[in-house]
């Protein structure tokens, strides 16, 4: 299904005997990325955690910038948290931006006090979330990011946990 801005592929996958709502969103331009960021900003309630998974240059930080921009945070204010480990931005909700790239183990992540952020009324993003998977909250939105071309990215969104399915459904609907 091709769309004017980004394309959406929707599906249900069985995994670990749990029905997971997932969909793919293909971006081919900056505008598409902004659109996905805006859709997330319009639908993610405070208290949501987003796990970002993907290799170097896959578009993880760029997506958080797009989300923050839709929240009124200037793009240049949202930068890579690789070295400082967590950035905070004040959008309509507080936005917390973690990065596990430099962390060597779960303990180093736990020491940042992520639970406090997960349980806050802000939206928390965790880059390289697969490296600290055991430390993530019980329910979260998973977004896998892949560079499929020099300027195109594929984002695969999946609900992790029962309460998240409705959120992922809402994101998908707002992109249609």
């Amino acid at each position: 299904m091709r769309r004017s801005g980004g394309s959406l592929t929707r599906g249900y996958h069985f995994e670990h005997e749990t029905l997971m709502d997932t969909f793919d969103f293909l971006t081919t331009s900056e505008a598409d990325t902004e659109r996905l960021g805006a859709a997330l900003a319009a639908t993610l309630p405070g208290g949501t955690t987003v796990a970002l998974i993907g290799t170097l240059g896959a578009g993880k930080t760029r997506l958080v910038q797009a989300f923050a921009a839709a929240h009124g945070v200037p793009r240049e204010a949202a930068t890579s948290p690789t070295f400082v480990l967590v950035n905070e931005y004040q959008g309509r909700l507080p936005i917390y931006h973690f990065d596990a790239y430099r962390l060597r183990d779960d303990d180093e992540f736990i020491e940042l006090g992520p639970e406090e952020y997960f349980e806050s009324n802000g939206v928390t993003f965790v880059e390289w979330a697969d490296r600290v998977e055991r430390c993530l909250p019980r329910e979260y939105v998973e977004i896998r990011c892949e560079a499929v071309g020099e300027t195109s990215r594929q984002f695969t969104l999946a609900a992790r946990g029962k309460g998240i399915a409705a959120i992922v459904e809402a994101i998908s609907r707002s992109l249609r």
Partner: protein, 347 residues
């Protein structure tokens, strides 16, 4: 003779130093460079505030002992309380506040990035203000207008990855190991910097003193491994290809840093450039800046490496605040985030 204890814990390093009123360094201790292993059970963690908690007192104690002074001899305690990692900043701040309270000493707040510029003043042994300050490290890529040691205005910075982060991440993609900066520089020595055409975002935009390095990762990936979902295995790459890419990436980063530094000088009419941060250790970068400075009659200051990477000696900027009577109260807080030009303008 005023003596100031300075404390630095903004990121991964725990450091302390004792400075006197002639800017003489009586002692300088950086945890990672010390043999504290036995005290820490043989393991020195690199990241996380727990490491700072374990190191901070031995580091301060060591700095005082090496300087041959006691707490009661000090005239002030200074601490870098911004910007950096919140948990790490807190450890240094709490230590400084506690010493200030216990010793009834004035407390001085230091901006870590301003301190990086002040390292040039220390290394030069003379006044370097007014100047343009450029801080390039793993966590920062910022440009400041520095009128005096007490008057810094942020002019711009990176809008995504820091320059040192770009070095590290590209080095990782090329299988060059860590730390990425030195590894990439070494590989680049055998490479052709014109072999690959890489983006230099924002370089041609004279209205912006900003950097964007995140696109380099994509460009490297695309040019080395192709489109689609390639298996990025650096081990399969021809060593000459790796060297050429390393040289090309290094050239792209240096072009951006040099271009914006020159633009800032041009816009302000300043004649001095002070550079700090770990990336200043990169030799081709130094050589480029030296060449440009010579051509344009710019006075260039780049401190020795030990003053470029995170250290407490550069906290000597606290002496300027001491002399100006700029003291903090005991309710001083940390500020993890970076002061941004647009924020500075709106306040």
């Amino acid at each position: 003779m005023p003596l100031i204890l300075t404390i630095e814990s903004t990121c991964d390093e725990t450091a302390a130093a004792v400075i006197n009123d002639r800017l003489e360094v009586l002692s300088a201790v950086v945890a990672s460079q010390e043999k504290f292993h036995e005290q820490f059970g043989g393991v020195v963690p690199e990241i996380a505030s727990r490491a700072h908690v374990e190191r901070i007192l031995p580091v301060i104690d060591s700095a005082l002992r090496k300087a041959g002074v006691r707490l009661s001899d000090l005239d002030a305690v200074a601490v870098a309380n911004r910007p950096g990692l919140a948990g790490s900043l807190l450890v240094g701040l709490m230590a400084a506040k506690t010493l200030a309270l216990a010793g009834n000493l004035p407390l001085i707040a230091i901006d870590h990035l301003q301190a990086h510029i002040y390292a040039c003043r220390l290394a030069a042994g003379k006044d370097v203000f007014p100047c343009i300050g450029l801080i390039v490290s793993g966590g920062h890529s910022n440009i400041y207008r520095c009128e005096t040691p007490l008057d810094f205005t942020p002019l711009g910075g990176t809008i995504d990855d820091a320059a040192g982060e770009a070095f590290d991440k590209v080095a990782s993609m090329l299988g060059l190991g860590f730390p990425g900066g030195p590894a990439l520089q070494r590989a680049a020595e055998q490479g052709d910097p014109k072999k690959f055409r890489l983006p230099r975002p924002l370089l041609d935009d004279d209205s912006r003193l900003e950097f964007s390095f995140s696109g380099l990762k994509t460009a490297v990936r695309y040019q080395l491994f192709g489109a689609g979902k390639p298996e990025m295995n650096a081990a399969t790459l021809d060593p000459q290809l790796v060297a050429d890419m390393a040289a090309s990436v290094q050239a792209a980063i240096i072009d951006c840093l040099a271009g914006k530094a020159m633009l800032a000088l041009q816009q302000t009419g300043f004649q001095r450039l002070c550079i700090g941060g770990g990336v200043a250790a990169n030799r081709p970068f130094r050589e480029r800046m030296e060449r440009l400075a010579a051509e344009r009659g710019i006075e260039l200051h780049i401190p020795p490496l030990s003053l470029c990477t995170d250290n407490a000696v550069m906290g000597a900027i606290a002496l300027e605040k001491y002399n100006a009577g700029q003291f903090a109260t005991l309710d001083l807080e940390i500020s993890a985030g970076l002061e941004r030009p647009h924020l500075a303008r709106s306040t």
